[in-house]
């Protein structure tokens, strides 16, 4: 083979086609590169840890004065019916009705803000009426990087970035080629089918550093989100995760003939994991009975491993179970995708 042999070989050429098609689709580049940043910024601000979480409440005129000195509360003075209406509308967390001698708290006890507001309001009213606390307490507040919401969020966003880009990118590209009868044309040549599918995996691996480094660097620079564990483990988890979701992308695109059909299948593959795999809130919130299923999902494994490495300083040995789950999905999805693939 000549010096340029590897570049004119089929796997290199097919991969070049993937890269060129992607780079020449500005929208695709936007979603892959900038969307995770926007999401991090947006959610980072929306759920930022405010120094003083101010809770909005309403109080009737007879009791409002006692509450207004409390720094943690934003008190509106309203008549009883309007205060309770505001509570029903979700404008306030607590409605306080009554006067100095007799107070009724209206709130939703399933709402954390409501319960907190009730406790603060109760303390303020009791103290205003002359209660003294028998035990002296002091608060020492710590806000360490690693325990804030944004720290929880960044590994989750890296995980959904790897998943969504792979499943959407491969699913659409494969089905579009099938719709154009291009796949049929390609298999009319001596092209190797494994190399055809392999070029998709290589393409995703080329984009992987961009997908991981951008949110990681942004999280680190803008919010100080740490990476405490092993970089090698982080790289390996991302690598296996990317291959796993590429294989799932191939499986998702293996049969469909139209973009509409594959969109439905993609949503089926992606949406449940967006919700249950602990991207935005801990998957522990789902019932115990569902936990084994949730733990077995590839996105859960990927995100759990990323969080363990970034936040808890885990090494390679600590994420063995997650790597095994991702590897299992990779093998099953790739074999099934290859077997089911509609080559015309």
């Amino acid at each position: 083979m000549s010096k340029q042999g590897w570049l004119s070989g089929p796997l290199a050429q097919l991969t070049l086609v993937r890269v060129r098609e992607f780079m020449r689709e500005p929208e695709a580049v936007f979603w892959a590169v900038f969307f995770p940043i926007l999401l991090t910024v947006g959610l980072g601000f929306a759920f930022r840890d405010r120094p003083d979480p101010i809770l909005k409440i309403a109080a009737t005129p007879g009791i409002a004065a006692a509450l207004k000195s409390e720094a943690g509360l934003d008190v509106r003075e309203l008549p009883e019916d309007q205060a309770r209406l505001a509570l029903r509308n979700g404008d306030i967390a607590l409605a306080v009705v009554g006067d100095a001698g007799n107070v009724v708290f209206y709130y939703d006890d399933t709402n954390t803000e409501g319960r907190t507001a009730r406790a603060i309001a109760d303390r303020a009213i009791q103290r205003a009426a002359g209660r003294t606390d028998p035990v002296a307490v002091a608060d020492r507040v710590t806000r360490e990087p690693g325990s804030r919401y944004v720290d929880f969020l960044v590994p989750g966003l890296i995980g959904i970035g790897i998943m969504s880009n792979a499943v959407w990118g491969l699913g659409f590209s494969i089905v579009d080629s099938r719709r154009r009868k291009l796949i049929k044309r390609m298999v009319a040549t001596p092209m190797s089918r494994v190399q055809y599918l392999g070029s998709y995996l290589v393409w995703r691996l080329i984009l992987l550093p961009v997908e991981v480094i951008i949110p990681l660097a942004f999280g680190g620079l803008a919010f100080g989100v740490p990476v405490r564990g092993s970089w090698i483990a982080l790289a390996l988890v991302c690598l296996i995760g990317s291959l796993c979701f590429s294989a799932i992308g191939i499986l998702v695109g293996s049969r469909a003939r139209t973009i509409e059909a594959v969109s439905g299948i993609m949503n089926l593959a992606i949406m449940p994991q967006w919700i249950v795999s602990g991207v935005f809130f801990s998957s522990q919130r789902f019932p115990d009975i569902a936990q084994p299923v949730i733990k077995a999902l590839p996105l859960t494994a990927l995100i759990d491993a990323l969080r363990a490495i970034q936040l808890r300083g885990a090494g390679l040995a600590d994420v063995g179970v997650e790597l095994a789950i991702l590897g299992g999905w990779l093998v099953v999805a790739f074999v099934a995708g290859l077997k089911l693939f509609r080559w015309r």
């Binding site: 004119s8 044309r185 009319a188 040549t189 001596p190």
Partner: protein
């Protein structure tokens, strides 16, 4: 024998697409499969290309069978499919470089571009090419492996008259270079111009076979009708089926 087909049969659900046809294509010959839409031309050619499995019958391509020699055969065939849309975002050169990478031998990308006269468009994106240019690129993709046998499925369908004639010129050049070609068409003038021999297909069967001149000479014209022009292949088809060739 470049292509040898015996008693080929293919049914899709309850439609008999190919109903027991025999074909022989000699090396160096341009053989035309002529017929209306739905006659079974594409099914026949795709079985010969190894893209569709026949229900029964024998197919030998360049003396080999798809069952035993599929990968060796793919290296030796050039294929243009009826409705392939090449990727709009790639350039002419990039598209051909990809196809070239699949073949052990063949012309360089630049040589292939020159063969189909797309030199001025070599850097253009496929999406910006005209219909005729796209079709010439599709034929360049079929030629990139220096094929011994070329399959062209309705190469001029949907092109304007000028682009059709340009493509005819290209196919005549290929014939002149001694290539073996099997092409399908539903234009009789195309078959007359390009093909050494023609098989007329209808309802999955071959209803006439011969050189264009033999076929046209075989048609008895009604005596009362003054013979203002020589018979065309259209007349052959009408005489054989009572229908016009372009009827669906």
């Amino acid at each position: 024998m470049a292509l040898h087909v015996r008693q080929l049969r293919k049914t899709f659900k309850d439609v008999v697409a190919v109903d027991g046809i025999d074909l022989d294509v000699q090396p160096g010959e341009c053989f035309g499969l002529l017929g209306p839409n739905g006659a079974g031309k594409t099914t026949t050619i795709e079985i010969c290309e190894g893209l569709t499995d026949p229900d029964s019958g024998e197919v030998r391509v360049l003396g080999r069978t798809w069952k035993n020699d599929s990968s060796a055969l793919r290296q030796r065939l050039g294929i243009q499919l009826q409705d392939t849309q090449l990727s709009d975002k790639l350039s002419v050169t990039e598209t051909l470089a990809m196809f070239r990478s699949f073949f052990h031998q063949g012309p360089s990308v630049e040589e292939a571009i020159a063969m189909v006269q797309l030199g001025e468009k070599r850097r253009a994106r496929v999406g910006t090419l005209s219909g005729g240019q796209k079709q010439r690129l599709a034929i360049a993709c079929a030629l990139i492996g220096a094929p011994e046998l070329l399959f062209l499925d309705e190469p001029t369908t949907g092109l304007d008259p000028q682009a059709r004639r340009q493509l005819w010129g290209l196919i005549i050049d290929l014939k002149g270079a001694g290539r073996t070609i099997l092409l399908t068409t539903h234009y009789m003038d195309e078959a007359e111009q390009l093909c050494d021999r023609v098989a007329v297909m209808d309802h999955g069967k071959i209803i006439a076979l011969g050189t264009p001149n033999e076929l046209m000479a075989s048609v008895p014209m009604p005596p009362k009708e003054p013979r203002l022009h020589a018979a065309t292949l259209e007349d052959v088809f009408v005489a054989l089926t009572g229908r016009h060739l372009r009827d669906e």
